[in-house]
Amino acid sequence: MRKRTAHAIALAAILSLPALAPAADYVIDTAKAHASIQFRIQHLGYSWLYGRFNQFEGTFSYDEKNPATNKVEVSIDTASVDTNYAERDKHLRSDDFMDVEKFPQARFVSAKFEDKGDGKAVLTGNLTLHGITKPVVIAIERIGQGDDPWGGYRTGFFGTTTLKLADFGITRDLGPAAQEVEFMLSVEGIRQ
């Protein structure tokens, strides 16, 4: 009995100790929409069409001093695609494109974080979209970090990446200029 109590105290002590390399955990502030997943694709090669995913959630760990431990996980509700035109969004949700009934979620899980200095980094990870998982590379720039006025601590990034639709099995032909989609990721995390 005494032994078990001693174990429990030791365990509690270990758990309450700060980790050796305290990578801070953040929750992406989707609740108050200080984060967005926007994309753009060429229309016929004549203009940019912009859209976004309205619903997603995610977390990241970020430690400037130990960037190798940095990681990100984001899941996106594919049905929340919004290009400001209901009929197009309906089409994008259909099996001509993302087939959201079958694949309601897209997911990004980071694998590697390469610090390029000066707040810049390259994040590599796996994106699962339309049921297909492929590696993607995201160029990242830290926009800023610090205390917020309400007692919290925030860090924010901007990232860009480009996907080839066909890589994810989305083969509907939108023309030669519209084979790729550019993503613009704006992410602000609140430290937990």
Binding site: A79, A86, E87, G175
Partner: protein, 191 residues
Amino acid sequence: MGIQMLKNTLAEYGWIAIALHWLVAVAAVGLFVLGLWMTGLEYYDAWYERGPDLHKGIGVLLFIAVTFRLVWRWSNPVPRPEPTHTAWEHRLAGIAHALLYILLFATMLAGYLISTADGRPIEVFDLFAVPATLSGLDNQEDIAGEIHELLAYMLIGLTILHTLAALKHHFIDRDRTLTRMLGCSDQSTQP
């Protein structure tokens, strides 16, 4: 005697009712075929935009035509059923006709709710625009789209039954059911 009057009598359909019947029939079947065809078009097809524009424009005009048809029906005598028809045939036909009207309106309403889901109006051939009313519901365009498709299939299914019944009356029973609606029935030659 041929049909010369515009309004219905207790014996015959008038020309207006006959014209409206066939107009609605052609438009509804045409919209069904157009709808099936246009949703399968490639992005670069010349009809990719024109098809849906036509579908919506005709749909709105059909709504007006069916509404007018109902007003006309209620402001005209309804020709008496053929004497050879049994009571249950008459009742069944009545139910089928009511269902055809309900399905027509419901299908058009669901279609309207797709195109106006984000508050955009429906343009009718540069003639006028029908404004959105109910918009912005969660997944409105998806739900309305599925209902629109389902109702369209039901409407076409019932139309086929309606057509088969008319053909059965014409070729098997040899009564005036179909010729009455074609405006070429001659009462005196019928038993």
